[in-house]
Symmetry: C2
Subunit: 333 residues, 2 copies
């Protein structure tokens, strides 16, 4: 991609530009994850929030607001809202997926229990709505409650579409829009809305977040088959073992002959996986070149994200958002 | 209690007075529990919503709004919101409690799986926020998001306070306010707020809902030890088997001698329950007369509820709300 990996990464550069606001978001998160009565809540939350992560989603909200010239206080509330929704989703996802590792650490459901993850997730979700209520903006509440519903719907759809070989690329896109892109696009959109930006600019911010989120998830699904465990904190083949139909496999199923199809039915639909099956799955992905085709799809969404953000006025933050879109796919170049 | 059980029950009489509005709430619930993409969502929701229940909470919202002279359309949205929050909570509770029965039918987590219950609960919770956003009232959003946070906090507190013999009546009250009363009081309060009622009347509606919810939960906990399975759909001793410290046991622990205390430590804290232990627990509750003391507490909260609602102007609905408070405790007379 021609990016110089020795240089500062674009999300780190953006984080530096937004350093004061990011610090305010962190303070607000610390403040609002407290619970007077139930100390279990901040314990569980701190485990996840403290594990870091790039805080990409709240940063997108701050960036969008600043890019649109906002100088009020509420972009900080909205950024914390977005991070709380994200954290609540992760807690529930790990219960649903029975995950044991997240960001290279044991998951909350493993360290405490499923009950705590479900209920603390509910608490953070409620807290996120309290935070957005403080902005006094019904538009913002509408956007973020729509996003929350889309996220949950995408997760349920994934539950029923997984392990079903009829799942095609359009269903995959719907799932990805739900589970990942909905929060990205809401994050950027509310930044524009709180700044009272021109509707065309708000739409462009939405389109940028939507395309960036889709690219991000496609790359994540790609890394599951070709990632470096040390760099990604994921094990190659987790999705295969969990029988998740992601884009590389969906493309391979579409091109499968009868023997190959029988293999996918056995391993994904019926879940009968024997030693060597992951290697065979990888060989089928390579045979049909679906990892490269998947990367090309991610690149296409990156270009859409960059085209959308390019319609906004010239700004240092605009350039960094454009670079972030490149960087997301550069992880698999 | 002097109530004639052959006559129409007061919540049925109120439901009749509010029949048109209740029908509108049902229609709105049917409409909003749909999902274009994920049919699993209405399946799971219909199982629970279709099982009936008295729809007491949404009825309280409609009643409060009407009592305050409201003639707009949004009390219907708020009533559906309250029912969605309640349903989401039930779905998550049954996962947390690993319950197999609810309202005399198998639970959703049993019929489908925990994953579906967690995610459909999240969906309904998001839907509830979408519905309230449509009212355009920030006050309503603030009240209901605060209630949601209090509910989740109460559930987490219950998780950590259960099986801990140090849990006293004040912690019990906090848990009950969270898990039950917070939604009752929010349900009645938002009815007043949407009607733009006098602040003193809004406060009285809040106090009524709070006291009614506490009485309701105390009676529920009492019925667990003295209920008639056929009438309540619950089995006597479920809370004991699940090692939940409810008011009758908390009162018995407070009066326990050393031998009795050892019994509670063994059965509740350590969870070592042998045949005959439930009978012995019941004999200890009877010895210290804690079932009657618990009923007296419920009656006290009933009186508080009635006193609060009595400050509102004379109205047919006001009388029925007062009768409902009596009826809640009449179940254990």
């Amino acid at each position: 991609m021609g990016l110089d990996h020795a240089a500062t990464k674009p999300h780190e550069a953006l984080s530096a530009v937004l350093a004061d606001d990011m610090a305010a978001v962190n303070d607000l998160i610390q403040d609002r994850m407290a619970s007077e009565h139930a100390p279990r809540i901040p314990e569980v939350t701190a485990h996840l929030v403290g594990a870091g992560g790039k805080r990409l989603r709240p940063m997108l909200t701050l960036a969008a607001a600043k890019l649109c010239g906002y100088d009020g206080p509420y972009h900080v509330h909205l950024a914390a809202t977005v991070e709380f929704i994200h954290t609540a989703t992760l807690l529930h996802d790990d219960v649903v997926d029975e995950s044991t590792q997240r960001r290279g650490r044991p998951t909350a459901n493993l360290l405490w229990d499923n009950k705590s993850s479900v209920l603390v997730g509910d608490y953070l979700f409620s807290r996120s709505f309290q935070l957005m209520t403080e902005t006094g903006s019904i538009d913002v509440l509408r956007i973020l409650s729509n996003a929350s519903a889309t996220i949950a719907e995408g997760e349920v759809l994934q539950l029923t579409a997984a392990q079903d070989l009829r799942t095609d690329e359009s269903v995959y896109l719907q799932v990805v829009r739900g589970k990942t892109a909905a929060l990205f696009s809401a994050a950027t959109e509310v930044g524009g809305v709180i700044a009272d930006a021109d509707p065309a600019h708000v739409q462009a911010l939405y389109d940028y977040g939507d395309a960036l989120g889709i690219a991000f998830q496609i790359v994540d699904d790609l890394l599951d088959y070709q990632g470096d465990t040390k760099a990604t904190g994921k094990n190659v083949g987790d999705d295969f073992r969990e029988r998740k139909l992601t884009l590389p496999v969906i493309k391979a199923v579409a091109k499968a002959d009868d023997t190959e199809r029988a293999f996918w039915v056995k391993t994904i639909e019926k879940g009968k996986q024997d030693e060597g099956d992951l290697d065979h799955a990888l060989s089928l992905l390579n045979k049909h070149d679906t990892l490269e085709a998947t990367r090309q799809d991610a690149l296409k969404w990156t270009e859409k994200a960059k085209a959308a953000i390019a319609t906004l006025p010239e700004h240092k933050i605009r350039s960094l958002l454009s670079d972030i879109a490149d960087y997301v796919v550069a992880r698999v170049s």
